[in-house]
Amino acid sequence: MILTVNRLKKAYGALEAVNEISFELKSGEILGLLGPNGSGKTTTIQMLLGTLTPTSGSIFYFGKDFVTTRSEALQHVSFASTYTSLPFILTVEENLNFFGRLYGIKNGIERAKSLLERFGIYDKRHERVSSLSAGQVTRLMLVKAFFTEPKVVLLDEPTASLDPDVSRDVCNFLLEQRKERGLSILFTSHKMEEVALCCDRVIVLKQGQIIADDLPKNLAKSTSLHRLSLTIVDGMKRTQSLATAAGIRFEVDNRVILFSLEERKIPPFLHQLMQHDISYVNIRIIEPTLEDYFIKIAEQS
């Protein structure tokens, strides 16, 4: 096992930011850490990096206790986050040379060349980080995280400031890295589409506790609510009355009505509409997504 977390806890007085969570990260696995704001994701990552001391519990990297082998373990662990920066007064090259040294790499810029090219920022290597756009800084952070050839990468919302197309490219990059080098990745994100695309498994945190640990598609299914969209030609009022009577939630936008209901209830409900001579066109059934699941738990908290 690459990473084992046992009953990890962080309390600030009476506030329990992370409450005895346990999980494992397998070799070559991409694990998503999800949860609403304040659920303990960043606190967990900080503890895994050793920049925050846990109140109790244990962390094992490569089977060794992180407390006693911190420096040795971090030689194979790297990190990128939207919430930190790089020394912005230094150039891209200086940053990579300096960070490289911390991992025993003498010429960081040479080692990082292919990654800088991959992310389209090699020509910026002589520029100060302060002159780069937010997206370019995020990509540089990713280069910093990967050029040391780690075995584990911890990413805290790495794509938060990126455009959707670049975000997707980052996702593809993570999948490539996993395939080529078999590295393990733990990452947090608020972009559910990205999590569904990249992650093999997802852990959901809520108020510092793990409330789910499953495949992304299973989590999505667990919401059970599908969406049924119909364009009503005749009988809008009757449709709304039938939905209300059946306890089905709906939203109306002009002639289009969108129902939220369990998958098994869709056929009988459509049959009921037919029995009441309600005519409709453009029938569309939307499967629940991870985003629906996320919204549900966020609303509950």
Binding site: L52, S71, R101, L102
Partner: protein, 261 residues
């Protein structure tokens, strides 16, 4: 302890130092301002026929020696503050870097900067006033080393507060050094101080250094007992301040380094 990582830290701050004139002001601008101010003042005092021999040399040597101490102190704290200002603290300490390696890196940089500053100041004093601050001879080297070590102690003391309380106390980086100056007998002998201040004064390594420096200038002999007293106190102060810094760093880690950015 990995020497390569300390070299990495050395480069990190060296790169920063090379960026822009404001980063070089500590090396050139402030020393020149002080040399002009104190140099001209001491020559004016000398012209008033006070019965103090070598007054300009005493003041200039005091000045350059105090610069060593102050520089050593500020260098340590400002290196730490750079990580706060550039939101790099979490990035830095989420690498294999150990606190001791960071300390090694900043001490290396501080030593190099100091050699450069001493060379520059000495040349400027010689050029402007035709005074040779190396009149104290080879004794200058051990005394400068002990002063630098005390400067580092002050730097780690200030950094201990900064790493724990964060931005709110960053002025400590420049303030704490000044607190020791009046008791260190930089420009006047310890005997000029009231008795309560003398008691404090003899607990500081800097006092022995400045007193020793004046003995060399007046009598031309190297005061070994003063040197060893300052070295002994230096070892106590530096060990205690590094231990305090490591302790406060661990306490800060309990609260989370991310809160400091």
């Amino acid at each position: 302890m990995n020497f390569d990582r300390s070299i990495g830290i050395f480069y990190r701050y060296l790169y920063t130092m090379r960026k822009g004139l404001h980063h070089l002001s500590d090396l050139f601008y402030w020393p020149i301002v002080e040399i002009l101010l104190w140099g001209l003042t001491s020559f004016w005092i000398q012209a008033q026929n006070f019965q103090v021999s070598n007054l300009p040399l005493i003041l200039m040597t005091g000045l350059i020696f105090w610069q060593i101490c102050w520089r050593g102190s500020v260098d340590i704290s400002v290196c730490l503050l750079q990580e706060f200002w550039q939101r790099n603290l979490v990035n830095l300490f989420s690498t294999p870097l150990k606190v001791s390696e960071w300390i090694g890196g900043v001490l290396m940089l501080s030593s190099c900067k100091l050699l450069f500053t001493i060379g520059f100041i000495s040349f400027a004093i010689w050029l402007l006033y035709a005074l040779n601050v190396f009149t104290v001879g080879w004794a200058f080297i051990p005394f400068a080393a002990t002063l630098l070590i005390f400067g580092w102690s002050i730097g780690f003391l200030a950094s201990s507060a900064i790493i724990y309380w964060g931005h709110g106390v960053e002025m400590f980086a420049w303030m704490i050094g000044g607190l020791f100056a009046p008791f260190s007998a930089v420009f006047y002998p310890v005997s000029a101080l009231p008795m309560w201040a003398q008691n404090i004064s003899w607990c500081l390594p800097t006092t022995y250094i400045f007193e020793g420096m004046r003995i060399i200038l007046h009598q031309g002999i190297f005061p070994k007992s003063y040197f060893f007293a300052s070295l002994g106190l230096d070892i106590v102060f530096l060990s205690a301040s590094i231990c305090l810094f490591q302790l406060m760093f661990e306490k800060s880690r309990k609260k989370g380094l991310a809160r400091l950015e």
